[in-house]
């Protein structure tokens, strides 16, 4: 294995992984891929013997000392999300412990990992993460987590337009609370629900890779631009640049959470203030404009391989913002 080798783990055909693998090829970085769909014939063992921490992967063709990798990018998914997960007893057991060993190793591996699961834990509670974000200097939307319908009605009267969404890491569509929903508000008595004051303005998705910042501006009238078409709206994405102090805040926020790669959701209000909604520890950066996404993938490869590489000294990308 060459110095500066990076490891990519997950479903190799998933676009964020494809872009990193392609970027590594362009940059001449040695990149090894653990494809969750191709684990048959491969093996892994990790542990502590005689006080020594080791991790070894058999690819089928060769054996690699995983602790010698410079960095790792992981988007490993649960077996339940694999279309073609093994179903025979031996295959199930093999797959289960392969992923178990890989994930447990990544948490303590002596290399740069984008990202360790522990670093992304705050994303499992958006209101807890909002507390981090505010400490990082960003404004966050006024929020209420409640199972009291009257409290939600009062919150709505105070803020006008209000949205609701999941408080946990479970993905949900951000939805505006309408008069039609008001009639169903009694249902929240079963489970406290997160409501937020709607923030008007322009959306920005910011990808932080170490100290580098890439920004995509999203123009959309939809409540949740990710699902704009469901609202009959469009979402136009283009590379943009952030003011240096905002870029710095994003870098510091990601670093404070222990994230090597982060997707920061911002909105610039009409008064110019940037409001931060969320820091995503496993961002699907490839869903944004192609130019920014390729720049993110290259930056990630360089970051995981240990730093800037020959041939990568070029002008900052159009979507790259310089932190203060």
């Amino acid at each position: 294995m060459r110095a500066g080798t990076i490891l990519v783990c997950g479903i190799a055909s998933e676009s964020p992984l494809v872009m990193v693998i392609d970027a590594a090829a362009r940059l001449g970085v040695d990149c090894r891929v653990i494809d969750q769909r191709q684990l048959a014939g491969q093996d892994i063992e990790a542990g502590v013997r005689g006080g020594v921490f080791f991790a070894r992967w058999w690819t089928g063709a060769e054996s690699l000392d995983l602790n010698r990798c410079a960095g790792a990018y992981t988007r490993v998914v649960p077996a339940s999300q694999l279309r073609d997960a093994p179903t025979d007893p031996q295959g199930v057991l093999h797959h289960h412990y392969f992923v178990d060993a890989l994930n447990a190793w990544l948490e303590v591996a002596p290399l740069r990992v984008a990202n360790r699961l522990a670093a992304g834990l705050s994303n499992a509670s958006k209101p807890w993460q909002a507390q981090w974000i505010r400490r990082g200097g960003f404004a966050t939307p006024a929020s209420l987590l409640s199972n009291e319908p009257d409290a939600v009605r009062a919150f709505r009267r105070r803020h006008g337009r209000v949205v609701f969404k999941s408080a946990s890491g479970v993905r949900s569509i951000v939805t505006t609370l309408t008069a039609a929903h008001d009639r169903q508000l009694d249902r929240i008595r079963a489970l406290p629900t997160l409501f937020q004051a709607f923030v008007p303005g322009v959306n920005y998705r910011v990808h932080v890779v170490g100290e580098r910042v890439f920004c995509t501006r999203i123009d959309s009238a939809a409540t949740d631009y990710r699902y704009a078409d469901r609202e009959g709206e469009a979402a136009a994405m283009q590379p943009d640049r952030l003011p240096p102090d905002i870029a710095r805040r994003c870098v510091d926020l990601a670093r404070g959470m222990g994230l090597e790669l982060a997707g920061v959701d911002l909105k610039r209000r009409p008064d110019g203030e940037y409001v931060c909604f969320e820091v995503n520890p496993s961002p699907a950066y490839s869903c944004f404009d192609r130019e920014s996404a390729e720049a993110v993938a290259e930056a990630l490869v360089i970051h995981l391989a240990g730093g800037r590489r020959r041939g990568s000294h070029r002008k900052p990308h159009a979507a790259e913002s310089t932190p203060a």
């Binding site: 063992e45 990790a46 057991l93 178990d100 990544l106 948490e107 499992a124 209101p127 966050t140």
Partner: protein, 265 residues
């Protein structure tokens, strides 16, 4: 506003919570216990953006944030009873959503949290043996050998025993967790309470234990050791140890009361 004390999150039949509560009361340190179902059925008004939180328990008792100086958490998650018979996806969603609320509320209290609520992160070093073995070694604690493997082709599992078994056909259960046989050496249990330890007079071992537990993201844990030729070897980590015995409940209560005093100060 009442005097600050210890909020114990534990079930009503948790003898450790009862023992620590009694020991706190004996020190005139206020304590209150709340269980998972009470939290799930409470009325919640949580404003995470710097506002206050109002929690009214089903009994009508209000959990006043101003009375909470320390949280001792012994719950391993909250399943809202109203979702107990729901479809799996709905139940999982309810558990995740309630865990998100609990995390935000507890961290927002900005008081010492012993220990943080379960995150469902099975590979956290406090949960997975590979993680705690690596951290133990990094903190100068000897451990038994441990490996997790998808097969034994590499030979690292030689001489080790598979932990647990499997229902799969004989010959298939090669993948798994393996550890060294325990042997019949002397046993030692050390309880870590913040920067203090109960169970060992060895100051060096105590210091390594407290640093190790802190690195796991915990403030309280029970650590099991067995003796070997090289000294004590760590073989088990318990993030929610029994504290029922007075020799544990009393020092734990003393430590918690000290944390409350620190918060008052």
């Amino acid at each position: 506003m009442g005097e600050r004390g210890v909020l114990i999150l534990a079930e009503a039949d948790d003898p450790s919570a009862l023992a620590v509560g009694r020991a706190l009361n004996a020190r005139a340190c206020p304590s209150q216990r709340v269980g998972a179902a009470e939290l799930a059925l409470a009325s919640w008004h949580h404003s995470p953006d710097g506002g206050t939180t109002r929690v009214v328990l089903p009994s009508g008792r209000c959990l006043d944030e101003g009375t909470i100086g320390v949280v001792l958490n012994r719950l391993d998650g909250v399943l809202p009873p109203q979702f107990a018979r729901a479809a799996t996806d709905d139940r999982d969603y309810a558990v995740a959503e309630f865990a998100a609320l609990l995390s935000s509320w507890l961290h927002g209290l900005e008081v010492p949290l012993v220990n943080p609520p379960e995150t469902g992160h099975a590979w956290a070093p406090s949960q997975h043996p590979l993680g705690w073995h690596v951290l133990a070694v990094a903190h100068g604690l000897e451990t038994d050998d441990f490996i997790v493997a998808s097969s034994l082709r590499g030979g690292a599992g030689t001489g080790l025993s598979r932990i647990g078994g499997s229902a799969f056909p004989r010959g298939c259960d090669l993948a798994g967790w393996y550890r060294a046989p325990r042997g019949d050496g002397d046993a030692l249990r050390v309880w870590v309470f913040g920067e203090g330890c109960v169970g060992t007079e060895d100051a060096g071992l105590a210091a390594r234990c407290t640093a190790f537990v802190l690195a796991l993201g915990l403030r309280c844990a029970g650590l099991d050791f067995v003796s070997g030729s090289g000294g004590w070897r760590l073989v088990h980590v318990d993030a929610c140890p029994s504290l029922e015995a007075a020799v544990l409940a009393v020092p734990c209560a003393g430590w918690l009361a000290g944390l409350v005093e620190g918060e008052r100060g």
